[in-house]
Symmetry: C3
Subunit: 252 residues, 3 copies
């Protein structure tokens, strides 16, 4: 029932669901699983990526009804929800997790250990660091004068969190370990380790931190154990970074 191109390279132990289409130029790593009704290696008309391979690395899980274009690369343990769309020119690190109905529009860079929930729209050209959390219904835009051909994608630095329903306006930069509160429309630069929440003054994440109990922000303080051993060093670095900014804030 599947339609698998002869040119595709499938690793050892790859499992395919029902009615799966694998186009040419597809490389799937060992132990990965592709769900029912997926289209993998979907052709693009974009000349920069047309005919280029898509690499889905080992131990990945692509859930049903997902479309992944050619000309992209995902390191090990990619995990998608159902009905996801990943366009050409998406280059992502390891352990990327993407929720149901999310859409990465391509031409973008994504670091390691990022997690996006459902209905997330990553506009073309976005640059996203590592350990970035993006909640449901977040939109990263790129056109400052809609509609236009002006192209100002957004940049999200390591460890940042965008809560549910955030819209990031074109050209914005979200600093390292910053948090944008639910429903905000954020524009310009959000400084590192700050919380952006309208109505409230912008304040430093440090003030939310309870280093004793580890129960408050930043998330690296109370959620680090959700990551594999190999990720701990990088998380400790993020924690140290916020701690320094916290000290600086207290000294003022």
């Amino acid at each position: 029932m599947n339609q698998i191109s002869d040119k595709a390279e499938l690793g050892t132990g790859v499992k395919l669901g029902f009615c799966v289409r694998i186009y040419d130029n597809v490389i799937i790593g060992d132990g990965s699983e592709i769900g029912d009704f997926c289209s993998i290696g979907h052709p693009t008309k974009n000349p920069a990526f047309k005919g280029k391979p898509v690499k889905i690395s080992s131990s990945s899980l692509v859930r049903s009804h997902t479309v992944i274009y050619e000309g992209s690369s995902f390191e090990e343990r990619l995990e998608t929800g159902h009905h996801v769309v990943l366009r050409e020119g998406t280059f992502a690190g390891k352990n990327l997790r993407i929720g149901n109905y999310s859409d990465i529009e391509g031409d973008c860079l994504i670091g390691d250990y990022c997690r996006f929930h459902g209905y997330v729209h990553i506009g073309k050209g976005s640059e996203i660091g590592s350990f970035v959390w993006i909640y449901s219904l977040v939109t990263l835009t790129n056109d400052p004068l809609p509609p236009s051909n002006i192209f100002r994608p957004v940049k999200i630095d390591d460890g940042a969190v965008l809560a549910v329903g955030v819209t990031v306006m074109p050209g914005s930069v979200i600093g390292k370990c910053a948090l944008v509160a639910a429903g905000e429309k954020v524009s310009g630069v959000v400084r590192p380790a700050r919380v952006y929440a309208s109505g409230a003054d912008e304040f430093i994440v440090a003030r939310l931190v309870d280093w004793e109990t580890g129960k408050r922000h930043p998330w690296m303080n109370h959620f680090a154990e959700a990551y594999p051993e190999s990720a701990r060093g990088a998380i400790e670095d993020l924690k140290a970074y916020v701690k320094v900014l916290c000290q600086l804030s207290k000294n003022k």
Copy 2:
């Protein structure tokens, strides 16, 4: 063209579309219809529901490209839109209607006669009463310190209405017959029979009620005829409940 497990139990007159996959552990009631490209009984890795049956009761309509996990139960006349995802551990009463692209994340209880529109995200662990209306792009969250392992799902009582684009923050409780206005981010407790709308003071639904013409809130007053005869008693109870709160309010 379909792939139907031998272990599935299909009732009399069940209609299946094109390229339907029915996994093990599936029970489908008489006269139900499953659309094209659906995956029914999708396996879960959640040990609490792994290998448990999914029951789709009689006279149900599951539209195309929908995924329903094992370990769930839906009483008669379930009706889904296209591209819906229903995860394991969802226990719903009769006549649940869910719009296109909606996602119930599981471990949740839903009463009778609920209607959810499109792009609705019901976070894991939500508890929802009967006759609850949820409009497009509503999100029920459950994590108060995103990201964390703290788990505070929301609770929506009978007859409540959440208008388009509402975000219900973790741990919130929406009272019986309350209405949350379009676009609100609601947190904490919304008292029964109240309208929650920012900018305005919170006010009682009763003040919106025009019992003579039946043209205003609460919805039970002007929309009861859209329900089957068997549902009328429960609707009359909800109407009586709001009427009592209305009297109390006038007496103050």
Copy 3:
């Protein structure tokens, strides 16, 4: 692997993907392409459109996992994203482009050269002019007392732009060449060539216009070249319309 009704009429050079279902009553024009896992001509229970044909005109591109109901009509060069739903009674002009996960609920009229991004919900009964741009997560509603049987769809005039996340409340009218800013909940009438943005006073688009550089609003001024030659006359008319309103505004 496809299931194509004998009664369907497919033009010359029509390309079909993998696992495509074409129901009865389908007319597809020359050179069009239908992606993997699409359901075209999906039956409706709506008596007004039941058994009526769906016409997808020439040079159209319908991307994977899309559902198009019977009883609709799309002029040449329809282009859909993935996972789109187009319900019965949708009558659209040429060059309609619709993004991933968008949903047109039917009984509606759409002009030429409209572009809708992803997760756009066009409520039943909406009337939309030509050259209308609708960005991600925009919802056109139609029920003023949700839930009710009262039906007040919205009307969007030629050249209007709805930015990301806009909710258009029931019965609203968005004037010719008006722009609604990101995230707004808009109600009532937005006058032609105005920008609607809360917090700011409503102001005329003309004040944003830089006729010398062509780099600002209205979009017709800096983006006309994105349309085919045949569309230029209509775009010049829209530009002239805004220019007149601009003069009137200056004279006041």
